[in-house]
Symmetry: D2
Subunit: 336 residues, 4 copies
Amino acid sequence: MVGLGYWGPNLVRNIAGSPATELVALCDQDEGRLASVGASYPSARTTTDSAAVLAADDVDAVCIATPVSTHHDLVRAALESGKHVLVEKPFVTSVEEAEQLVALARDRGLVLMLDHVFLYSPAVRRLATAVQDGELGDLQYIDSVRINLGLVQHDVNVLWDLAAHDLSIIDHLVGRLPRSVSAFGEAHQGHDLVDVAYLHLDYGDGLIASVHVNWLSPVKIRHFLVGGSRRSALYDELDPSERLKIYDRGVDSTPDPESRRRILVSYRSGDVVAPALEPVEPLRAMVEHFADSVARGAAPLSDGEQGLRVVRILAAADRSLAAGGAAVTLDAGGGA
Amino acid sequence: MVGLGYWGPNLVRNIAGSPATELVALCDQDEGRLASVGASYPSARTTTDSAAVLAADDVDAVCIATPVSTHHDLVRAALESGKHVLVEKPFVTSVEEAEQLVALARDRGLVLMLDHVFLYSPAVRRLATAVQDGELGDLQYIDSVRINLGLVQHDVNVLWDLAAHDLSIIDHLVGRLPRSVSAFGEAHQGHDLVDVAYLHLDYGDGLIASVHVNWLSPVKIRHFLVGGSRRSALYDELDPSERLKIYDRGVDSTPDPESRRRILVSYRSGDVVAPALEPVEPLRAMVEHFADSVARGAAPLSDGEQGLRVVRILAAADRSLAAGGAAVTLDAGGGA
Amino acid sequence: MVGLGYWGPNLVRNIAGSPATELVALCDQDEGRLASVGASYPSARTTTDSAAVLAADDVDAVCIATPVSTHHDLVRAALESGKHVLVEKPFVTSVEEAEQLVALARDRGLVLMLDHVFLYSPAVRRLATAVQDGELGDLQYIDSVRINLGLVQHDVNVLWDLAAHDLSIIDHLVGRLPRSVSAFGEAHQGHDLVDVAYLHLDYGDGLIASVHVNWLSPVKIRHFLVGGSRRSALYDELDPSERLKIYDRGVDSTPDPESRRRILVSYRSGDVVAPALEPVEPLRAMVEHFADSVARGAAPLSDGEQGLRVVRILAAADRSLAAGGAAVTLDAGGGA
Amino acid sequence: MVGLGYWGPNLVRNIAGSPATELVALCDQDEGRLASVGASYPSARTTTDSAAVLAADDVDAVCIATPVSTHHDLVRAALESGKHVLVEKPFVTSVEEAEQLVALARDRGLVLMLDHVFLYSPAVRRLATAVQDGELGDLQYIDSVRINLGLVQHDVNVLWDLAAHDLSIIDHLVGRLPRSVSAFGEAHQGHDLVDVAYLHLDYGDGLIASVHVNWLSPVKIRHFLVGGSRRSALYDELDPSERLKIYDRGVDSTPDPESRRRILVSYRSGDVVAPALEPVEPLRAMVEHFADSVARGAAPLSDGEQGLRVVRILAAADRSLAAGGAAVTLDAGGGA
């Protein structure tokens, strides 16, 4: 485990706690933090030397939870030493870096996985099933709101910090890149990092997705709404008793047989179901999925390819912000 | 009263019920509806002839709640007959029509008022006071969500139908036109009217406003969030016991005196106050404000000028939608 | 219609609006109120003489919404004139009066119905179906909370005022009198009418029901929770989008086959379903059920017998309050 | 630390994490659990021999989180060895045992503290201030609802398990024993332990308190409502952003100067304030309060005397349950 800041110790706790993994070494530049976390895991060695960890013979896989600016070098070094890698989001800060790492992992036959933890929550697992099984019908819109009084970052804007989560879920549900991306936002904290932002994705075929992220909101909201032609779903991370609801309510439209120009609209008002969800901790499930992917040599759900797609969208969003909100096209080949 | 469809009878009830107004005549093309509504107001005459009502000597003021395509002709006829006018939103369907009517009312010295009913709610009155008195500090962002399974319209898209409300509140709080407008949306009901849409307004000076409107959402949300440099506010029309909350929570940032490049960020976690609000019905207050504006010869809060600004924004939004979301500039002179 | 105070005009609106009923006459002691309400219903005559209305030849049925102290005399007079009666809750203030009126209606073959309006809400209709069809299994507990800053009454305490609603719903679901009743409460407003109260009903067979009513609560809560051996349900009048939820969550217990003294407990965590409900106004449905009961000569859901059972429980509750909360037994014959 | 079941490890984490305390030894009968917890705290010794821990020279204070049936013997042994004690609720199962332990701690000059953790939450600290400073005026009623699908216990009923929390908060706010206690409940799980229960306390002077606890409820509710003559408060443990709200809403009543028999009632509709609360973890605050009480030789907030008062009420509740809900008087001398 490299990086023991805000997020790292949560990963450590799950790595140490899962029967699928063994915690071998802890690494951080800050000796105090290293000692403090290390005290709880006496069987793991501690070090400030990340290169040594990345190259150690008794290490099969590395988890990286350091500042994003260091991700590229650390992940590359780990892959080059033949280690499987789980890396915190945001992945890296450019499409080129992401492409390079994805290619490297592929060439070496190693698992490269992103810490897109919400994919492993029971609510998103169930939501993905509803989409894949056609329970929702054709997807029409996705609207995600992730706002709260958050830690204003100094290295990435609010889109790279927060929307990476929403984009990983949207990517998982939709399974392809949008045709174009536009973004709108503003920076208020005296530097130029946008802290309130809106991101719009046009997927074609009538499907749009939007994300509102905000570090300044006094209220905390996590609403992930998916509208389909048959049913709709709301995933609310903050409602512990009904995290996912599936609504059999909607609007049906059919062409009027008597007139080509008119549409007949009708409204459905059906049941709302909050499906029972397994009481699984997403972070634990993610760590075990990583171990399982390594063991099976299989691509994880949040693999480097997904990480690359998310970076592609975020990079396009930055370009749209710089261009006053103009849509930035993503070609199918993957260029932004 | 001209137009007794969905909204008209609510106006009628308040016109008849207020001591400030006298209900003289009811007009609708549909004789059944006319008879049905008229039965409750025996002292008012009923007619299908709108021209007669608009020209009647015993009529001082006309309320118009007909389909938007008829607004321009009816309002013009009323103003030309020397009647004050209260007209349902959306005002008209083009900037030119709005400009013409505003000029006509000004020339004749008549009150032309829009039915922007939320301006007259106690929550918005109190919110406007908080903004004007500097309680919130400098405005940073406004975010409004107005979504529910709504009546899909056949004449206007969801922005003209629903966002007119949000724009009237934003206009009232901000008091000026935005510099530019961009919009993003999609039509799903087989015709070309957008039913899920996002509207972004750039007001300059760090202030942005966004509106999400949606006719397809299975959940009903009315969240109007105003972020300021000192405090923030949330107006939730659906929370009857705490419609307005003012949050003394936020992020403060000051330049680091030791380094030009760094910013020191600190977080406030203060009280949340839901101010006591008068138990006033907005519609009643609006009708009485109309009567009072007529009596005093004063411009109402939601005057034709505001109606024109809202139409300007909506027309720009349509152009942005057509242009794939590109920002459309509004010049200060008022052109779109 | 006799009595045009707070509640009467709501009944009038529905009587006048339903095709099943014709509004013939309006009666109130207060001439101003009579004129004000009457103005909207020009086809109905107005009078301050209730005796004349109760005896009028063109009146088939009478609705009574006067202060409770007048109910007994008015209902008796109406029944003696051969009129069917719908009377506001609480029915009357003593078991004897209730028994007398029920007997009178039975002897005359007339419909005597209580204005237990919540029975006619789609949520309670669906809840009753769930109970009757065994969807909930055996009932284990009912817990109803009906609290808000309410109009402190001067003639009846909070149990007679508010708990009458809860008791009518409980009676409808359970279909029998409890074995015993106990009550706990306190008066705070300087007179001796209890304004915060708890009522407990022991139905035997493991079923208990409790009601908390409170005129002083700053928060408004309407929670009606029904626990069953198979499923449980929550009816929340204040949640317009999910008024009824059925929970497939619970505790199952079975005797341990290896030991007589132990019990094996297991937990179910199943789906939560908010069934689609018809968009019916309860008051309208109640008025039409009254008309239908009269037309068919059938007993309404909230007939005089139910009114009598509710009065029996409330009278027992008063005795329990006076006795410091001691349980008061209700014998099956109906004595309190 | 003696007892490493469900609750113990939470205490251990805070004892180890606080600078005010040093974790010396861990004790549990279950060797697996001992090893598992112990692995994270390598500097603490582990043992299955509680007697040895309670007598160890390097131990100043003992935390006990074992089944309630063992509390009396363990606490007594600890006190007799001169150790300060923090013991999990419920304290013990009889008034006599509680009295004996309180007397023993007093005689030895040792701190005996109950693990009434909610007293140390910022919301309850602020609520207590509001009561003590007269912000709420005279207390009129307290209503606490603590229901959810809970772990059905095999050794104590739902009152001893859950209501101990509510009673500790009520005791802290009111500061005296009630005059009488009544209880109502039912057992549904095949054994005789009540799983749905209501507890009523009469404090005299117009103050009543009620507690609803329920192991079978499919919904989780934590509502603690305090009604005062000036203001009221709602403490909702499950609302992380507004755990405490103070309502300046209420009913005022004054005698009518013209008539002795009438009361004039008026309603206040003032602001609602959710005060900013310190982001303190209650468990951490409790452990540090214990350490501080030991250091200063002062009585903690949740001292043995409070534990005794809570046991007195619970024992009276059991007697009331057995007597069909009859009120059980608590004399001021403390007998139940």
